[in-house]
Structures are given as structure tokens and as C-alpha cells.
């Protein structure tokens, strides 16, 4: 009897492997291979002038990261970018979610409007805004002019450029936050709110003492997910500012891209990529553990 069960289980497992094999193969080819190649490369002196893995340098590429002249600047810009976009997205997302949670009419229309940016490719979003915000030809400055406001050099002025990419990122990603928070809000039990009404809690107190604590898991997941995505931001920088002007929008991922394809040093860029990956991986593992602890 036991033997029969085991052979059955073995057959099930083999069948399962068979079903997942194509997906696994694709993943290995497009994810695991480039990843392995990057890790491998990070231990060699490997440049675009010398595309051969023949000079093993050990951890030199890693130890030399700290010597990168402008890396500190890129880390600081990335930190500011992540902080600003995630915090503002959370505040707007929460406000929108709270408002939509009370809406009963035209809910689908609001959802459609809310989801529209999320359906667009980041490259399209960046290109769109680059045109809208063009200092000479963009419609934004034309409209501002109509209101008697001087045109803003959105992407040419360092300070303005930083906030421009932050705002474009927010425009693109805030709905993600809003949708996640809205899903959380609509799943909250109704009863504690009624109990709070009987207890005499005002709307603000209810939000602070009931909604926020009950939403904590959802908030944590939404913020962590956005943190991970924001840390990897590349497309809008590549399209809109190329890290400039100066280093005003030079996020880490773009910095790595530059050191690989402009600095031509693939070995060192690979090392930096691996470090960034470990950072993101750390956050992801924390998120995964947190979500498991909720279950």
C-alpha cells in the first residue's frame, strides 16, 4: 500500500515538473543566465574594450566601488528620490483610497481613470511628460504663460528637474498605492467603526486609532513594494533627463548604466549591480517574511 502511494506521489511530482519545465526554462534563460553572468563578470576586469573573462580580479571591483567619485552623490539623489516619491505617493494614495472607499456612484469610472497611468509603459509615460514639460515647445509652459506665469525650465534646472522626475514617477505610480490601500480599506471589518461611533470617536480619531492600526499590514506591504520599485527606477530617468542636469537626477540604476556603457567598465558596473540587487533582495526578503508573518 505504502509503495503504491509513493509511486503515485512520484508520478505527480514528475507531472508537475513537466508542466513547469517550459516556464522554468524561460526563467533560467532570461533571468538566471544574465544574473549569473553579471555575478561572474563582477569578479573580472571586463570592459567593453576587452570583452573576455581572462583577468580575474577577485573582490577588487567591489572594494573599488567606494572609490567611485560620484557614487555618493547618486546614492544621496536616489535616497531623496525614493523618500520623496514613496512618502508623497502614500499620502495621496491614502487620501484617494479613503475618498473612493466612500464613493458608491460612478465607482467604475473613477477606477478606470485611476488605473489609466498604471496601464502605460514607463517609457511612454516619460516621453509623454518630456513633451508636455518641454521648456520651449511644451504645452505646460504654454498654459502657464496663458495664466501669466513665467515658464519653468522643468528638465533644465537642477532643482526643478529633480522634482519633475519625482512628480512624473508619482503620476505614474500613485494609482498602484491607491489601489492597494483601497483594497485594504474595503476589506476592513465594519464593526469596529460602529463600535467607535458608539464610543464617541471623531472621524480623525477613528482614522488614527482604528483605520491606521488596522491598515498597518496593507500599508507596510504597499510602501515596501513601492520602495523596491522606486529604488530600481531607470526608465523615466533614461528618457527624461539622462541623470542630469549635472547629477541632479542621477539615480543609482542610471549611474550603473553610465559606468557600464559610457565608462565602459562592465566589471565594476556588474559589481555595483550585484550590490544594488542585494539591497533590493534584502528588502524583498523582509517583505516576504513580513507577509508570511501576517498569514
Amino acid at each position: 500500500m505504502a509503495a503504491a502511494v509513493t509511486s503515485l506521489a512520484r508520478r505527480d511530482r514528475r507531472f508537475g515538473l513537466l508542466l513547469t519545465a517550459p516556464g522554468l526554462a524561460a526563467l533560467i534563460f532570461v533571468v538566471m543566465f544574465p544574473l549569473g553572468f553579471t555575478v561572474f563578470t563582477s569578479f573580472f576586469e571586463y570592459t567593453l574594450m576587452h570583452l573576455v573573462h581572462d583577468t580575474f580580479v577577485g573582490v577588487h571591483n567591489y572594494t573599488s566601488i567606494v572609490e567611485e567619485e560620484y557614487l555618493g552623490e547618486a546614492v544621496w539623489v536616489t535616497f531623496k528620490f525614493v523618500l520623496a516619491s514613496v512618502v508623497i505617493e502614500f499620502c495621496i494614495g491614502m487620501a484617494v483610497a479613503l475618498a473612493l472607499n466612500r464613493v458608491t456612484r460612478f465607482k467604475n469610472i473613477y477606477y478606470l481613470i485611476l488605473l489609466a497611468p498604471l496601464l502605460m509603459n514607463p517609457v511612454v509615460v516619460a516621453q509623454l511628460w518630456r513633451m508636455i514639460l518641454h521648456s520651449e515647445l511644451g504645452i505646460m509652459n504654454y498654459l502657464l504663460g496663458g495664466l501669466g506665469i513665467d515658464g519653468v525650465n522643468f528638465l533644465g534646472d537642477p532643482e526643478a528637474a529633480f522634482w519633475t522626475v519625482v512628480l512624473v514617477d508619482i503620476w505614474h505610480q500613485v494609482s498602484f498605492m491607491a489601489i492597494l490601500l483601497l483594497a485594504g480599506l474595503s476589506a476592513l471589518p465594519r464593526e469596529p467603526y460602529e463600535a467607535a461611533r458608539m464610543d464617541g470617536a471623531s472621524a480623525i480619531r477613528t482614522f488614527i486609532h482604528i483605520t491606521l492600526p488596522l491598515m498597518r499590514p496593507v500599508i507596510a506591504v504597499a510602501v515596501l513594494l513601492r520602495l523596491i520599485f522606486a529604488l530600481k527606477t531607470f526608465d523615466i530617468i533614461y528618457i527624461m533627463t539622462k541623470g542630469g542636469p549635472g547629477a541632479a537626477t542621477d539615480l543609482i540604476s542610471y549611474f550603473i548604466y553610465r559606468s557600464a556603457f559610457f565608462g565602459l567598465d562592465l566589471g565594476r558596473a556588474s559589481a555595483m549591480s550585484v550590490v544594488l540587487l542585494l539591497g533590493v533582495l534584502g528588502l524583498t526578503m523582509y517583505l516576504y517574511r513580513y507577509m508570511r508573518s501576517l498569514a
Partner: protein, 367 residues
């Protein structure tokens, strides 16, 4: 302490009438039970008293003050919800303290009140725990504690016992009765469980389809149901209700039911004279059917056949078929036994019979 008066209260959800024309005067310190099947509007009525639902028409007043537009918090009532509605992220102590903190009570007072309430309900050990660490019965106590600690004018209980298992429920029932005696507070208790209603309420208000059908003391409602709905809803097994006919029987009258003519006791023939040769609904409670002719009342023999014998321990419920195959239930002593399909002679106490108008379903006057 509060007197709660509902005058012509109604509730509409769009075009749907949830509650209509409810008039109810709940005396100060009274234990009132709102009883009815699910969807009858009893919970909605309670929630309108609490202020959690707006009142569409009519007025609700507490101690003479109309509270239709008064915020729930200012009505000074406490509600215990069916699923307890504890704040899941707060400890038991914080759950109890939350409402008091919001009312700005000094910390020392809050602690004293929590200690008293915890002692009263035996939840002192649980104060540091979170609701998810409590059993259903313990959560129930905490929910009750959260209401008690506020020392409100009245308590509104929305099916608070329905999520407990049978044994706990019986225990909590007794405790709630004791608590009411101890506090002397007004309690409005919503339930669909007629045993709860009978045992706990000083008065029962039976509702159906958003309207009040009958209000009265439990035994009064049990003895004199105003219509077939109340007759069939109260007590388990419910009253046997059978289509019948009033016929002449020599000098007097008889109820012709299931192919048998059951003579009406002389004291009830007077008012029934006008119902002669007309259809009626004949009702007899299972406890008014006996296996012997002796022992009070006006017992009349009916020959039946045994359909099922349900031995419940303290009693036996016999399901028996009349000659025309319609079934009746009888509550008999625990020693009763019978084989299925065997003939069984039962004796109906005709002094205890109920008669209803088959069209209006209302009880005929008992004369």
C-alpha cells in the same frame, strides 16, 4: 437608566421597507427582547435606537428627548454586537478604556472602572491580551465589559449569544439575567432564538416583515398568541396548526379536523357560534396532547399512527399522523415508547385549543 419610546418608527432602504410603523414603549429598567426571524427588522430597529441607522419616519425618544438627529455617542447607549466588534489591535484593557478616554475621564477613574468591570465579568486575567488570543466566550465577555464600563443609560444587545456554543449560551443567558437584576438597567436584546426570548425578557416584542406583531410578557404571548405566526414561532416544537372546520355537534359545537370531530368545551361555544360551518385554523400545542384521558382539562381522544419518536432525554417528541395523514407533534414524558406505524391514541386538551381566522390568520376571541 432610560425609558426608550419608539413612535411610528419606519426605515426605508431606497424603495425597500425594512421597518414600518413600530410603536414600542420600553420602560426604565425593563429587559425587552425583540424577537423574530432573520430579516424581520429587529436588528434595524435596535440600530435605529443606537443611532447607527437613520430613522426614515417616526420618532425615537430617550427619557422624553427625541434623539432622531442625535449622534450615537451622545445618546449614551452601549451596544454589544453579534460578532463582538472588539478593536482587534488593542488589548482587552484598551478596548475597555477606549470609550472612556474619548470621553475625557481621568486615568484613575478609567482604571477603577476597568477593575470593577473586569471583576464583575471575571476577565481580570485577560486584560493584557489581544482579542485574537481569546476564545469566543471570552471575547463575548469583553464586548459586554466594553458596554458595562461606560455605565450607559441603556444596553442594546444585538444577538450577542448567537455565536456561542449551546453550553456557553445557556451560561451567558443566566449571567445576563443576573446582570440585569444587579444593574437594574434598561436592556433591549435582539434575538431570533425563542428560548432566549422566553427566558430572558420581561416582555417580548415579536416582529415580522418589519412590523410588530405582538408585545407582551413571555407567558402571556405563549398562552395567547395573536396570530398563527406567533403561535408557530414561539416554543419548540411549535404549535400544531391544522386547517379545520367548526361543525354542529348535538347541542354544542365541534372542531372537525383530520377526519375527526373534536367537541368544543361548553365555555367556548358562545363566541364560536357565528363560526359554525366555517373554516378555521385549529391550533394545539404539543404539550397539550396526552397519552391518557385522566388529568384535568377537556381531553378528547384522537386516533393517530406513529410516524417518528424523537427521544430528547428529558422528554419524547412524538410525531403522529391523523387519519387524513396530516402530522402533529406531541410532547410526552420521557418514558414514552412506540413503534413506527403503530396505532397511538392521543388525547387533546380542548380547553387549551387555539382557533384562528384562516384568512386574516388572527386568533379568534377566546370567550
Amino acid at each position: 437608566m432610560a425609558r426608550i419610546v419608539l413612535e411610528n418608527v419606519g426605515k426605508l432602504y431606497g424603495p425597500v421597507v425594512a421597518v414600518e410603523g413600530v410603536n414600542l414603549d420600553i420602560a426604565d429598567g425593563e429587559f425587552m427582547v425583540l424577537l423574530g426571524p432573520s430579516g424581520c427588522g429587529k436588528s434595524t430597529t435596535l440600530r435605529m435606537i443606537a443611532g447607527l441607522e437613520e430613522i426614515s419616519s417616526g420618532t425615537c425618544s430617550i427619557d422624553g428627548r427625541v434623539v432622531n438627529d442625535v449622534d450615537p455617542a451622545e445618546r449614551d447607549l452601549a451596544i454589544v454586537f453579534q460578532n463582538y466588534a472588539l478593536y482587534p489591535h488593542m488589548s482587552v484593557a484598551d478596548n475597555l478604556a477606549f470609550g472612556l478616554k474619548l470621553r475625557g475621564l481621568p486615568r484613575a477613574d478609567i482604571e477603577a472602572r476597568i477593575a470593577t468591570t473586569a471583576r464583575m465579568l471575571g476577565i481580570g486575567e485577560l486584560l493584557a491580551r489581544k482579542p485574537r488570543q481569546l476564545s469566543g466566550g471570552q471575547q463575548q465577555r469583553v464586548a459586554l465589559g466594553r458596554a458595562l464600563v461606560r455605565q450607559p443609560k441603556a444596553f442594546l444587545l444585538d444577538e450577542p449569544l448567537s455565536n456561542l456554543d449551546a453550553k456557553l449560551r445557556a451560561g451567558m443567558r443566566t449571567e445576563l439575567i443576573k446582570l440585569h437584576q444587579q444593574l437594574g438597567a434598561t436592556i433591549v436584546h435582539v434575538t431570533h432564538d425563542q428560548v432566549e426570548a422566553m427566558t430572558m425578557g420581561q416582555r417580548i416584542c415579536i416582529m415580522r416583515d418589519g412590523r410588530i406583531v405582538q408585545v407582551g410578557a413571555p407567558l402571556e404571548v405563549y398562552r395567547n398568541p395573536v396570530d398563527t405566526f406567533v403561535a408557530g414561532f414561539l416554543a419548540s416544537p411549535p404549535m400544531n396548526l391544522l386547517d379545520a372546520r367548526i361543525v354542529a355537534n348535538g347541542q354544542g359545537l365541534a372542531v372537525e379536523v383530520g377526519g375527526v370531530a373534536l367537541p368544543v368545551p361548553p365555555e367556548r361555544t358562545g363566541v364560536l357560534a357565528q363560526w359554525r360551518d366555517r373554516p378555521v385554523v385549529f391550533g394545539i400545542r404539543p404539550e397539550d396532547l396526552y397519552t391518557t384521558a385522566e388529568g384535568g382539562g377537556a381531553r378528547v381522544a384522537v386516533d393517530t399512527a406513529v410516524v417518528a419518536v424523537e427521544a430528547l432525554g428529558p422528554e419524547v417528541v412524538l410525531v403522529a399522523a391523523l387519519p387524513d395523514k396530516r402530522e402533529v407533534s406531541a410532547r410526552l414524558g420521557r418514558s414514552f415508547t412506540a413503534r413506527v406505524a403503530a396505532p397511538q391514541r392521543l388525547y387533546a386538551d380542548m380547553a387549551a385549543m387555539h382557533l384562528f381566522d384562516p384568512e386574516t390568520r388572527r386568533a379568534l376571541p377566546r370567550g
